[in-house]
Subunit: 764 residues, 2 copies
């Protein structure tokens, strides 16, 4: 087996270069922050509204930190001590051959724990810092929109870019540093890094999803539906919670989700790359993904900086803004592709890896197009949904469900074709090469993460600016600018959503690939199977025990979806009651008395945090339980089941939700009687049903399938090493079972939150 | 390999005994028919309504036959010539060793084609004859209800029992006759029998589902929702179509579906049983399932005959009726269990097979309980849905979706535990034994098919009697009797629905098991793998190509659901327009002019038939295409994907639909303001969304997953034998691809039906 000692000068230089690029990305983010903070925050009325949003955001972020920290503390310990349950790999002993095995064990333990903390912290930084920046940006966008469209656009987009570059920079930094320190022993440590990121992403995605939709649905049900007052009306007590929610969900949640995919694709890329290094003796398989990522960051820096809006324009602004953002995106894409060509020709001396990365970029485009087809107002599906509103909300819902199912079918086919591409590219090679190809597709797909996250974060910033404008009663001219930006933001957000699901599935599949090679490696070390070289361990669904794993795996996303939808409706019903109560306060409806925004913010914050623990426990413990009760092959079946059922539901919910949303928008734009018509009412029902599906339950599945795959990777060696009759295993099985069932019951009944809020309500 | 020549006298006697029992079941059905036909058909007004229903039913059945016959004709030829593509098995050569291979080929070809025709014909008889009997019964129930509750109950239940006994008798007859003629060569021929049954079930299930819900949703949307007139109001032009639809869906569709499960479990039970015979040399493995089935038929005859209602009762009739029906069921169950015990002890001399069958009966009970928990008015889920109507239809829909997903999760766990039970029962034995155990679980689960189908068919008979009562303005006393019977029918229908899905999944899993052993056998004959004895071929999801199969398999039920939901909404919108048009006919709303019922019946009939072809093509051709383009292992992955995604969606849709239905009923019974309240309106939306899910799209997946598994079994040898580069294979691939994409496009756009109806509409 070859070590990294035989790296060429170019390769050593490359690795340090990538590290430099990662730092450059972070520096760019810092530079943008300095730029943004220089802009003014507008009138005192605007700052008052903004102050409420910021306080709400701070409250959420603070409480989130308090909820998560103890768990991170415990898990850091678990990861450190895990090396005492299962010894470090042969590669680790080889990498640190100067030391005794005991010292190596200590090094790996510390490394893994530190990597976990780094993964968790980076994810937290992306989410929390990104969201704080979004809050800083929104009021400045509102203020700038009173002066110039291009300035407002530039501020909004660059604020979003900060989150984008944090995602890129931190993801690359972590992977590269671990690789530099641990070399061929990286997999031992990388898993800790990946686990930290995925776990935090799960928290932020699920918490953010519940928060944002509880506030949104709650505010709409009373405000728009019952009282017929406009969105963002200052008399609605949930309006600030709704604005905070946009940041919590679309900014913190989405950024953490994509950071996670970005991180786990590099983790599985390096693991599979190292497997190829050990087979071929060529270092290039592992340098390649790092260089691809480095190129991506550089081109994102250039592309995002090009987005600035033309000065002194007016007229068709909306189109111009989207064109501007797209120009940035395509510039980045073009730069990357050219650089990849050079890389393939001059460094790799072959084209297969290049094609895999290219398939990834193609996949991003195809998924984007499919998402657009099914959810955009210009195409048949949304038009059909809008038309079905003529026979009422029931047929509108049915049409949306049918469209959701259909899109799931096509997305399955697309992912299947992607894997088929990897099979064809590495035709005749051992399975490990194909798995590597899939991982490179994931790397390719996320090349332009910087741009993607920037486009996504742009959404809530523009949305919030618009809300501040409404509540601070700004001039019509400025309001129009902000409304235009908001509309552009809705489009860019929708595009990112498709990328998030697609990349989550590809990331999960490549983690599944790493799981297979990892299991084979451990089994080979124990003499259970032959060497890795030409062979990956078989997960036979034809074995009843594996089929059982497959079934249970498929059950999990269903359970998860059920629990998250319930969480939202439960939290929303609390909001509904609260807003209704406040509407009865004398003078409030006349605008003389201000509602108590903080109460609604508190309800959302508490609900979102409490519901997390149960869901996280289920996701983390279930693969361990399956592996221990059945066996490691059944765990493989379980992972396949989770991926299949997770993708089905995630795509179904995202598409149906998005399509209903846009069907409502087309009707609001004047179709079939426009606002206030019966058709509009039907479409509002569709949109309200779709909201928690597309923004909570669906997106929650992205981190879930990744966390489960990562935990399985971590747990696999333990499962293989220990017998079912070991006392430790028996105790663990009992403990896991109790905790999982406890978590399901806790989540089903909404934990303490719901009861507490109900009690408070009863007391009041 | 052992032949059947060494059967003991008891065994020979048993097989002929089973044949006798099958004929006895059919005789019992004939006897009941004679009994029923003796009863009177009531007043001329009743007969007039009934005449309209009968004409509608005949029209549907006639057109269905016309649509299906050409396809049966073609496929009979295909099945006959299939023996010239792939030679008969070694077992067939051995069984008919007196003849030359060419003659054997001819025998098997004729046998397979004849078996296909028999399977199709039996399925047709069960569906068509059962439905005709239901139509004969309903008016007699209506008439009897004017005299006595017990008589009405007896007629309704016994009419249902005719369908039940046809299902039992014909299913057992076919399997036994084939076994007697072909012995160890049965698998060659049984597949034809299974394929005939599954294909017809697909037609009747999907056609029936589309028909019934197009009529129901169409009638409700205009009648109940727009015009606020009661259900079954004679002024509604779709009311006869709706009554016909109940028979088409719940009687013909459901009976064919359960017949299919009954048939394919015996097919896979015999295939796997023969595999065990060849391993152990003991004939008992194959005699056992036949005897179990025979016992089931006998006990169903006794149990169903016990249901007759007490004479001279009144008061709590509803409860008594259900009690009566349940008493019949539990009598049958008790008789079966005792007989199984004797069988295990005195014939099998071991308990494993008995336990497998017992798990099947247990499974039926558990699924029944879960279905009840999630959809019955007494339990939390439906109560929660009803409560969520307070915040409008959107939250009600969300709650239903969450409950649907949750029930999917638990049903996965239940099926997983069922397979685990088979693993534990056959612990330490080769995989084939475990697969046999799963097949025996399927056999056990369907032991009381006679009772189950009787209970199910009872539903539409009571429902139609009630409709006839409404339209013929019968006396209040009689109306009350019929309303009570109708309510009981709703409960018994719901129970059967759960059994239908559960048995479909178990049947599909055991077909999957047969697929595995079959593939292994062919591969062993070709020298690709070792002998079957200890080994079943591996379907490795860890192979990228198999994972691709898994993904595409998962896509198919999504596509199917999307297409069937669309078919219903499309057909329903045609009905809505037609009923609206007729409401404008002067004098109609005043009851002076009778609406044109026939027009609505025609629309439903045409829609239901035309949409079938596309769906059937997709189901039949896709496994062939996957197998040829990828390979037979990928086809195995494909089957697993179909089962997983099919079960997920089928359970989700059935549960959500059932729960919404009953939530509406609780509100109609007076909760939250009762009929006409805002809560009621919200619940009507939920019910309308749920209708096509629970009665069309969901049930359509049952035959679909079985058809696909059966086609794969048929196609597997061909796929293994031929190379991808053979010209025949290439032509087939191109042809299948074109046909599948044509079918998708055809189905998506509603074929010619929709365009034609639209054109007619435009012309009118």
């Amino acid at each position: 087996m070859s070590s990294l000692a035989n790296a060429t000068l170019f390769e050593v230089f490359s690795i340090w270069g990538v590290l430099f690029i990662a730092l450059l990305g972070l520096g760019y983010a810092f530079l943008l922050r300095v730029q943004i903070m220089r802009h003014d925050k507008g009138t005192s009325k605007m700052q008052e509204v903004w102050g409420a949003i910021r306080t709400g955001a701070d409250a959420y972020l603070g409480r989130q930190l308090k909820t998560i920290l103890p768990l991170i503390f415990i898990l850091t310990g678990v990861l450190f001590f895990s090396v005492y349950v299962i010894p470090p790999s042969d590669e680790a002993l080889q990498r640190f051959s100067k030391f005794t095995p005991d010292i190596v064990r200590l090094i790996v333990g510390i490394g893994r724990a530190a990597a976990f903390v780094a993964g968790a912290t980076f994810s937290l930084i992306v989410g929390q810092f990104g969201m704080r920046m979004a809050v800083e940006g929104n009021v400045r966008v509102a203020s700038a929109s009173r002066r110039s469209f291009s300035e407002a656009l530039k501020i909004a987009y660059r604020t979003g870019t900060i989150t984008g570059m944090l995602t890129d920079g931190l993801g690359l930094l972590g992977g590269t540093v671990i690789f530099i320190i641990f070399g061929i022993a990286s997999p031992d440590v990388l898993l800790g890094f990946g686990f930290g990121g995925t776990l935090l992403a799960l928290f932020m995605r699920v918490g953010g999803g519940i928060y944002t939709k509880a506030a949104d649905v709650g505010a709409d049900l009373v405000g728009k539906v019952e009282k017929n007052i406009p969105e963002d009306d200052p008399r609605n007590a949930a309006v600030i919670a709704d604005l905070v929610g946009d940041n919590v969900g679309d900014c913190a949640g989405m950024a953490a989700d994509i950071f996670e995919s970005y991180e786990v694709t590099i983790v599985s890329g390096l693991i599979l790359g190292l497997a190829l290094v050990s087979i071929t003796g060529q270092l290039k398989w592992i340098i390649f993904p790092l260089l691809v990522r480095g190129i991506g960051v550089l081109s994102s820096i250039i592309g995002t900086y090009l987005v600035r809006g033309k000065k002194g324009e007016d007229g068709a602004k909306k189109r111009d803004a989207l064109k501007d953002i797209n120009r940035g995106f395509y510039s980045s894409a073009a730069i990357s592709m050219v650089a990849f060509l050079f890389l393939a020709h001059y460094y790799m001396h072959e084209w297969r890896a290049f094609f895999s990365v290219g398939v990834g970029i193609l996949l991003a485009i195809v998924i984007d197009e499919i998402t657009k087809y099914f959810t955009h107002t210009h195409h048949a599906p949304v038009k059909e949904i809008a038309e079905s509103s003529k026979t009422g909300s029931a047929t509108l819902i049915l049409k949306g469900l049918a469209i959701g199912f259909e899109s799931s079918a096509w997305q399955f086919i697309v992912i299947a074709l992607t894997i088929l591409a990897a099979v064809i590219i590495y035709w005749g090679q051992p399975v490990v090469f194909v798995l590597y190809g899939v991982a490179m597709t994931g790397i390719g797909m996320l090349t332009l993460t910087g741009n993607n996250v920037a486009m996504d974060s742009f959404g809530p910033i523009a949305d919030n600016a618009n809300g501040i404008g409404e509540m601070a009663h700004l001039e019509p001219q400025a309001r129009q600018t902000m409304a235009d930006l908001d509309a552009v933001g809705n489009t860019t957000k929708a595009i990112t959503k498709g990328v998030a699901i697609g990349s989550a599935v590809i990331a999960a599949v490549s983690l599944f690939g790493s799981f297979l090679t990892d299991v084979t490696k451990v089994q080979a070390q124990m003499g259970i199977v032959e060497n890795l070289r030409l062979f990956v361990t078989g997960i036979r669904v034809s074995e009843p025990i594996v089929f059982i794993g497959l079934l249970i795996g498929a059950a999990l996303p269903c359970l998860f979806s059920s629990l998250t939808i319930n969480s939202v409706t439960r939290a929303a019903s609390l909001i509904v009651n609260e807003v209704r109560r406040q509407f009865h306060i004398p003078g409030l409806m006349e605008g003389k008395v201000k509602p108590d925004y903080k109460k609604a913010v508190d309800i959302c914050t508490i609900s979102a945090q409490k519901e997390l623990i149960g869901l996280a426990l289920i996701a983390v413990l279930s693969p361990i339980l399956i592996g221990m009760v059945l066996n490691v092959e059944a765990l493989g079946g379980f992972l396949a089941g989770v991926i299949i059922s997770g993708q089905l539901l995630a795509v179904f919910m995202a598409t149906a939700g998005g399509a209903w949303d846009n069907a409502k928008k087309t009707i609001e734009d004047g179709l079939y009687g426009g606002k206030g018509s019966e058709c509009h009412k039907a479409s509002v029902v569709g949109d309200t049903v779709g909201d928690p599906l597309k923004d909570t339950a669906g997106p929650a599945l992205n981190p879930m399938i990744k966390v489960i795959n990562l935990v399985s990777l971590l747990a696999a060696p333990i499962i293989i090493h220990y017998k079912k009759t070991d006392i430790g295993v028996i105790v663990s099985i009992v403990l896991c079972t109790l905790l999982i069932f406890g978590a399901i019951i806790y989540s089903k009944h909404g934990g303490l939150t719901f009861r507490k809020c109900r009690e408070e309500e009863a007391n009041a």
